[in-house]
């Protein structure tokens, strides 16, 4: 009985936390479209699988960005990293096998994260300014190396692994989301590294006093962010059977919004991996629902904004009333 009371109290406490916000919004939006689009194929498994597949690269980016935000940094270069890593992977795939292509793409992410981190920490300059600069550089390189051409991918094993494959009937992109999201969740919630990340983001002075290597932790967080973006690039390349310099270009704001709605603080110290994943799925559901509703493009844009504002307002109200 006591144990039951305890778990009920824990549940109630959770419902009042900032992290619960995304669940209210997600539930509201899902119900809204389920009612409005009851006569379409919205509430079908294949439609939800479409949404999960479409948002998989965004989800991975959001998970990575959560690490950067947890330590109080913003990484604006993730969109351009997606493009460059996808292009490098696709180009390598024309001459080598999958392992080297994947390694090359991930090395791009590692290098960008390292450069971002070193510049931010050594120069003690805002991450916003540094990553804004590197974003431009990376975009320029991505445009330059392929002369604005698309790079097709015909390697079917690669497109299976990173795009269209299914394992036991489950889309491989969902599997990637679960694996990366699961690893990130364990790191943040169960390992000392996760606590260090949040401590550094919450109060770097106190973290330093506790003996946490603040600079190193921030560097790791930025590398995680860039490498997640590089993996997202591979997922895009696999899904689209090719890479292009515009990949990821439009994703930055969506990812930041998804992570923020998911309960991660934009100023460090608070991070929520499940929220980041639900946040990107929420964006996918809104986009999908509005298209199926038959709205014109302009109406879709207005409705997207209105739904987000209403959902956020309801979420806030639920928490306050709770």
């Amino acid at each position: 009985m006591n144990a039951q009371m305890l778990s009920l109290n824990q549940l109630k406490q959770f419902a009042l936390q900032r992290e619960a916000f995304i669940y209210y919004i997600f539930f509201f939006v899902l119900c809204f479209f389920a009612i409005v689009l009851h006569d379409t194929a919205f509430l079908t498994l294949s439609n939800f699988m479409n949404i999960v597949k479409q948002t998989a690269p965004l989800t991975i980016m959001a998970v990575g960005l959560t690490f950067a935000l947890a330590v109080g940094h913003i990484d604006l270069s993730i969109g351009s990293t997606v493009a460059l890593s996808a292009l490098v992977g696709a180009l390598l795939l024309q001459h080598t096998g999958i392992p080297l292509a994947v390694l090359g793409a991930l090395l791009v992410g590692l290098t960008i994260g390292l450069i971002n981190g070193l510049l931010i920490e050594r120069l003690q300059v805002s991450s916003l300014l540094i990553t804004l600069g590197t974003m431009g550089i990376i975009t320029g390189i991505a445009r330059q190396i392929t002369n604005l051409e698309s790079v097709p991918i015909i390697n079917q094993d690669f497109t299976f692994l990173f795009g269209s494959g299914k394992v036991l009937g489950m889309p491989i992109l969902l599997l990637w989301t679960i694996v990366i999201g699961g690893c990130a969740y364990i790191i943040l919630k169960k390992l000392a590294a996760g606590r260090h990340l949040l401590a550094v983001g919450g109060n770097p002075t106190a973290a330093r006093a506790m003996g946490i290597k603040v600079t190193r932790i921030r560097l790791y967080a930025l590398i995680a962010s860039s490498m997640a973006a590089a993996l997202a690039g591979l997922l895009y390349a696999g899904r689209l059977h090719g890479a292009r310099y515009t990949l990821g270009e439009a994703d930055l704001l969506t990812v930041i919004a998804a992570v923020a709605i998911g309960g991660t603080s934009l100023f460090g110290g608070r991070a929520c991996i499940v929220g980041a994943i639900l946040g990107t799925w929420l964006m996918g559901i809104i986009n999908n629902g509005l298209i199926l509703s038959g709205f014109s493009t302009n109406e879709q844009m207005i409705a997207r904004g209105v739904i987000l504002v209403i959902a956020v307002a309801i979420g806030v109200k639920e928490i306050r009333n709770g």
Binding site: Q54, G242, R244, A250, I291, L292, S296
Partner: protein, 365 residues
């Protein structure tokens, strides 16, 4: 059967069809765009949009079928809206329900997602402009395999076979438009003078070919001297480029710029530099620049296509394909050379709606 002269295998190709095919072959052999994935030399037939007609009997037949269509566009603009309007109104006349309209915002990944999203609606007809042939091909293939008839706007898709994978491509006469822009430039400079070119420096099928056709046609005016060429990627860059161009080459008498909204920056720069003498020539119609033209300032002329007709033609081809008709591989929609004297009629041709009041007033002054 009134989808008359563009039927593959039916009727003999008429002179128009042959000349259009020849023009395309000439265009492509002269100016092969790296974005162009399909070998246009392989085009077997082409037709003009005015030849695409459906009989009342065919329309009545369509109305009984309860068909649906999805419009999967590449981006949003007044131009796309007019294409959209033309398609929707035409489908409406045929009793075809438009169940989804999407905007890829020039993002191939978004367009793939859009195609996946509409797949659950199983549309009978899809009208679309592919942002990137390589990336989007598989999603189009899935839609085709589900039985949708695909009508393409301008951009071909690599590896797709006419009739088997798509109904046809509806496009502007890019070669003709570039040539007409060159003619307007010659008129503006009275066959002799200094010209600057601000071209689209990105791989984009339509703009690249129009720009190239412009350069090619300009060779017939030996007294027009192209003193400088500069490329732009984003429209926001054209103001700075034009300002620098004129400061470095004050003798410039005219500037060609790839399209209307990019020309806005050029005209803004010329105003800042107080150079009303420099004439601007571009493509497409936009209210801001037409106001400039109406008030006899910088914009001398523009070459405008007919987006409403493009949408209407695409819809007709899709509907005809449902009835088993085989369309030409390429259907070309005409364009208009626009100067101050014909702004009103060109606007009405392009958008099938009256000229905005502001422009009417400016023209009356």
């Amino acid at each position: 059967m009134t989808l008359s002269r563009n039927l593959h295998g039916c009727n003999n190709y008429n002179a128009i069809s042959k000349s259009i095919t020849f023009a395309f072959a000439l265009l492509i052999t002269s100016f092969t765009s790296p974005l162009l994935a399909v070998d246009f030399n392989s085009i077997t037939n082409a037709d003009k949009s005015e030849n695409i007609k459906l009989s009342q009997q065919q329309i009545d037949s369509l109305k009984t079928k309860k068909l649906t269509a999805a419009l999967v566009w590449h981006g949003s603009s007044a131009w796309v809206s007019a294409v959209n309007q033309g398609a929707k109104e035409t489908f409406s006349r045929f009793g075809i329900d438009v169940v989804a309209v999407t905007d890829a915002q020039f993002d191939p990944a978004k367009q793939v997602a859009d195609l996946e999203n509409i797949s659950v609606l199983n549309p009978d007809i899809i009208l679309s402009l592919s942002v990137d042939s390589t990336s989007t091909k598989n999603s189009y293939r899935s839609a085709i395999d589900s039985g949708a008839k695909l009508v393409l706007l301008s951009n071909p898709i690599e590896g797709f076979i006419h009739h088997q994978d798509y109904v046809g491509i509806v496009t502007d006469d890019m070669f003709g438009m570039g040539k007409a822009a060159a003619q307007l430039t010659m008129d503006a400079l009275q066959q002799s003078g200094k010209l600057g070119i601000i071209y689209h420096d990105a791989k984009y099928f339509i703009t690249n070919n129009r720009d190239q056709a412009f350069r090619q046609a300009l060779k017939s005016a030996p007294n027009i001297d192209v003193v400088i060429e500069k490329g732009f990627v984003k429209e926001s860059e054209t103001s700075n480029i034009a300002a620098a161009m004129v400061l470095q080459n004050p003798e410039i008498e005219a500037i060609y710029v790839s399209w209307d909204s990019a020309a806005e920056g050029v005209i803004e720069a010329l105003r800042s530099l107080d150079r009303p003498d420099i004439k601007v020539i571009t493509h497409d119609l936009g209210v801001n620049n037409l106001l400039d033209m109406a008030t006899n300032r910088n914009l001398y002329g523009t070459v405008a296509d007919r987006p409403y007709d493009i949408g209407a033609t695409m819809a007709k081809l899709g509907a005809a394909a449902i009835l088993g008709q085989r369309a030409a591989q390429v259907t070309i929609v005409p364009f208009d050379k626009v100067t101050r004297t014909n702004i009103t009629s060109a606007w009405q041709e392009a958008f099938k709606k009256p000229l905005p009041k502001l422009l009417t007033q400016a023209l009356q002054q």
